[in-house]
């Protein structure tokens, strides 16, 4: 009979464990964030002071120092800790630490005025000296800052001169219109913390960063979370939320569950998940422009593709609309793309050759080019569902015009290794995506003859000259003309086929407000976290 006793014991144990879990949960909910019952529905939720907002991040941040942030996670955290000088977007200039920025008449000197009474998180004053220290660190070759290229004009670094405690003058060796945008993006680091550090990237000071943004660093638990608390002396007023927590969740499924379970406050979701979250009364689903272009590039190493008519034929043979509905459900989630510039880039125009779907024209162009039975290899990253969708649909479409596509999904690292090497002939077409920002000059490296980033192998001397003109042209109308001509020419030459400008979709727990004021932006999700609040 002893075996029966065993069974009873095991059963009892199981019951004990399950009741223990059950009972405890009545007293203490599994998570502090599980939305409260619908019992209080009669009262409209009120904005309250305090509360936590929890972001999900895929991994620990890298170096918590704006000079080195290159990945989404670190940039998102930096955005809370370090305030920028100002931000130029499609709506104009939004000032943060800076009060004004004024170029001189010859556009060789820019005068930056800081707001008064700015403070670092440790209570020290933020002054012109910090801005100068930051710029000098960026231009210092030894420090290997990410954005050094933006502050070196015509081979010489931009100089910064202190006028008074709140004013800095930047002196450029040569006119560079994009400079103003790059300058705004600087997120100053404190001189009194970093002065004398030999290697800023390896400095232990980065482990407990001191910034000037709405939230200050509290603690980091590797692999678990980064916790920030509000900075009462933030120049734009005390933030509403008490703290921000960035929780590390590597797995996409797990982070979805965590969001549904109330363990996260907001998260990017895919079009496949939209319906689920729209139906859930605990969430707001918000769309915003990611500023990204998904496209297909032509490799000019392929003999057939060197013929412009062949490239155009392929462009006419693709039905963009069908791709958008096939991959993104509807144009609500991705706009049809016509230019290589995204809509929020300055001087963007859709007034270019659009290559509307036209099988007859495509066939005719191929016939004129004397190309028959064209076989092309199309490469993309194997983990991208989006790219896979593009590939399968295009494969079908191009069959109509007698072009056979061989799909080559590749591992991410291998794909970029091969894509960035314009002489590699492993494939003829590739899917790529980019975010280049508001400043049109940002696109230059992609199209300049023999540029390292020009992986089409495209060469057009006329356009090279136009790109250089765009950098020094200070007259807005003339500048617009230059970049519009560039966009038209690029479409006429058809080396990049623009597919879609996808929108980002974010599901936010309904108890959070201030989403509009905080403004959803690419990469860091919210631009100004001090504006978010909680409603109870």
């Amino acid at each position: 009979m002893s075996n029966k006793k065993w069974l009873v014991l095991i059963l009892a144990l199981v019951m004990l464990i399950s009741t223990a879990c059950g009972n405890k949960n009545v007293e203490e909910p599994a998570s502090v964030d599980i939305p409260t019952d619908a019992g209080q529905e009669s009262e409209a939720p009120q904005k309250v002071d305090g509360g936590i907002f929890i972001f999900g991040i895929g991994s620990d941040p890298n170096v918590m120092n704006p000079l080195y942030a290159g990945d989404r996670v670190t940039m998102t955290i930096n955005n809370a800790i370090f305030a920028p000088l100002y931000v130029i977007d499609e709506e104009g200039t939004q000032f943060f630490l800076a009060e004004s920025i004024t170029p001189s008449e010859d556009y060789l000197t820019y005068t930056l005025k800081l707001k008064s009474g700015l403070k670092w998180h440790d209570g020290e004053d933020l002054t012109a000296a910090d801005v100068i220290f930051t710029l000098n660190s960026i231009t210092d070759e030894k420090q290997k800052a990410n954005s050094r290229g933006s502050f070196v004009v015509a081979g010489k670094p931009v100089e910064a001169k202190k006028i008074d405690d709140l004013t800095v003058e930047f002196i450029l060796p040569e006119v560079s219109v994009p400079f103003m945008g790059s300058l705004g993006g600087i997120r100053p680091i404190p001189q009194h913390i970093f002065e004398g550090e030999e290697d800023l990237a390896k400095s232990t000071k980065n482990l407990e960063p001191i910034g000037s943004g709405p939230f200050k660093f509290k603690e980091m638990k590797s692999g678990e979370k980064v916790e920030l608390v509000r900075f009462d002396e933030y120049f734009d007023g005390k933030p509403n939320l008490e703290s921000l927590v960035f929780r590390v969740i590597a797995d996409a499924n797990a982070s979805n569950t965590a969001l549904l379970n109330g363990e996260l406050s907001a998260k990017y979701i895919t079009t496949a998940e939209v319906d689920k979250f729209n139906e859930d009364e605990n969430f707001n689903v918000v769309l915003f422009k990611e500023g990204m272009l998904n496209n297909m590039v032509f490799r000019l190493t392929n003999k057939d593709l060197q013929n412009e008519d062949v490239r155009k034929a392929i462009a006419y043979g693709i039905n963009r609309e069908e791709i958008i509905t096939g991959v993104y459900k509807s144009s609500e989630y991705a706009e049809e793309a016509y230019s290589v510039f995204v809509p929020n880039t300055q001087f963007h125009t859709s007034d270019v050759e659009k290559y509307e779907y036209n099988v007859e024209k495509a066939k005719e162009l191929l016939e004129n080019a004397g190309v028959e039975n064209l076989k092309l290899r199309l490469a993309y990253i194997n983990s991208s569902k989006e790219n896979e969708g593009f590939g399968l649909i295009m494969q079908q479409q191009l069959k109509e015009i007698g072009v056979e596509l061989e799909l080559l999904p590749m591992e991410r690292g291998a794909f970029y290794d091969k894509l960035l090497d314009a002489s590699n002939t492993d494939f003829d077409l590739a899917f790529n995506g980019y975010v280049m920002g508001v400043e049109p000059n940002g696109y230059k490296p992609l199209f300049r003859t023999a540029d390292f980033n020009n992986f089409m192998g495209y060469a057009n001397e006329k356009l090279d000259a136009a790109w250089e003109e765009g950098v020094v042209e200070t007259d807005e109308t003339k500048r617009a003309e230059i970049y519009q001509t560039i966009q038209k020419q690029l479409m006429d030459d058809m080396v990049v086929y623009p597919i879609a400008y996808p929108n980002s979709i974010v599901a936010v727990n309904k108890k959070y407000g201030g989403i509009e004021e905080a403004k959803l932006v690419p990469i860091s999700m919210f631009r100004d976290l001090s504006k978010l609040y909680i409603m109870e």
Partner: protein, 313 residues
């Protein structure tokens, strides 16, 4: 003998390190990819590569790595610039805790279920246990984990789905609640394996002559089972103990990333995706070290439990 085995482990560790180093270097992509921005030209990218020490020939890079590793310096992460050793030390407790709990649970459960199964051979309990252990061995752990999360977190709201602690809560109970699911997932396969071993070794013991002798001299079934059979049947568990360590290490990689458990596994996966080779090397070496220690441990324990084995060597 132990010392001899320890010395034998050294060339094995070196061989493992050479192979891992080569494999990392042969894989497409490199850590510089994380730093490339469109403003950069090839010269800037080269200078980053140079400063990371990625431009020397592979064997030089390996020797450089080996030299500092032997001095106990595992270098700096190429991605977050923090000392590798520090990152591993931070993550170690979480992983060891999870592995330890799973090991204990799977041993206890496996032995109990295995014994009960064997002494009730082909009865209901045995059939259920056998079926369940087959299931346990063949179910993919990530699927099992997703199911647990779906039922226990999303539907029943009993347990938190991710992490080790609720934000702002610092109780032991909170820690236990967070560890229940990862521990169950990590123990599943091991429990099933232990159950199967114990069951079959108990059954074969029950057929031995000494059992018949004991029965004949009037011992009860219970006495025979716990006094004599258990001691002999449990021997293979010691081998399984050593053998299950590598499985636990690799299982921890999967379990930790699904449950956002802040351990070595999660760190390892991140380092692989970012080509952070000093970190990959350190974690690989650490896992191999556990593997070798596990084997060594099971040999030693086996020798203690069954002195005949020692004599044979």
């Amino acid at each position: 003998m132990i010392i001899k085995r320890m010395i034998q482990a050294i060339p094995m560790m070196i061989a493992i390190s050479i192979v891992s180093f080569l494999l990392i270097k042969l894989a497409p992509g490199d850590p510089v990819q994380a730093y490339i921005t469109p403003e950069m030209g090839p010269t800037e990218i080269e200078s980053i590569r140079e400063s990371m020490g990625l431009n020397s020939p592979i064997h030089i890079q390996y020797i450089r790595w080996l030299k500092s590793a032997l001095k106990g310096d595992l270098g700096y992460s190429l991605v977050n610039h923090r000392p590798v050793a520090m990152q591993i030390i931070e993550r170690l407790p979480a992983t060891l805790g999870l592995m330890g709990a799973s090991l204990v649970i799977s041993m206890i459960l496996g032995i109990i279920i295995g014994l009960v199964s064997a002494s009730n051979q082909n009865k209901l309990f045995d059939n259920i246990a056998t079926f369940t252990s087959y299931l346990g061995i063949s179910i993919p752990s990530f699927w099992f984990a997703m199911m647990l999360v779906y039922v226990l977190s999303l539907k029943l709201k009993l347990l938190p789905s991710i992490g080790m602690r609720t934000i702002g809560v610092h109780t032991t109970w909170d820690l236990i609640k967070h560890s229940i699911m990862p521990t169950i997932v990590l123990s599943l396969q091991n429990t099933a394996t232990v159950t199967r071993y114990i069951r079959s070794s108990t059954i074969s013991q029950l057929r031995e002559d000494y059992v018949i002798v004991e029965y004949a001299s009037g011992a009860s079934k219970r006495e025979v089972l716990y006094k004599y059979v258990l001691k002999n049947a449990i021997l293979p568990v010691i081998t399984i103990l050593g053998m299950s360590l590598p499985g636990l290490v690799s299982g921890a990689f999967i379990t930790e990333s699904i449950f956002g458990w802040p351990g070595m596994g999660q760190l390892g996966i991140k380092s692989i995706f970012s080509y952070d080779y000093p970190l990959i090397m350190a974690i690989t070496m650490f896992s191999s070290f556990i593997l070798i220690i596990g084997n060594l441990l099971s040999d030693i324990l086996y020798g203690i439990a069954d002195p005949r084995i020692k004599e044979l060597r």
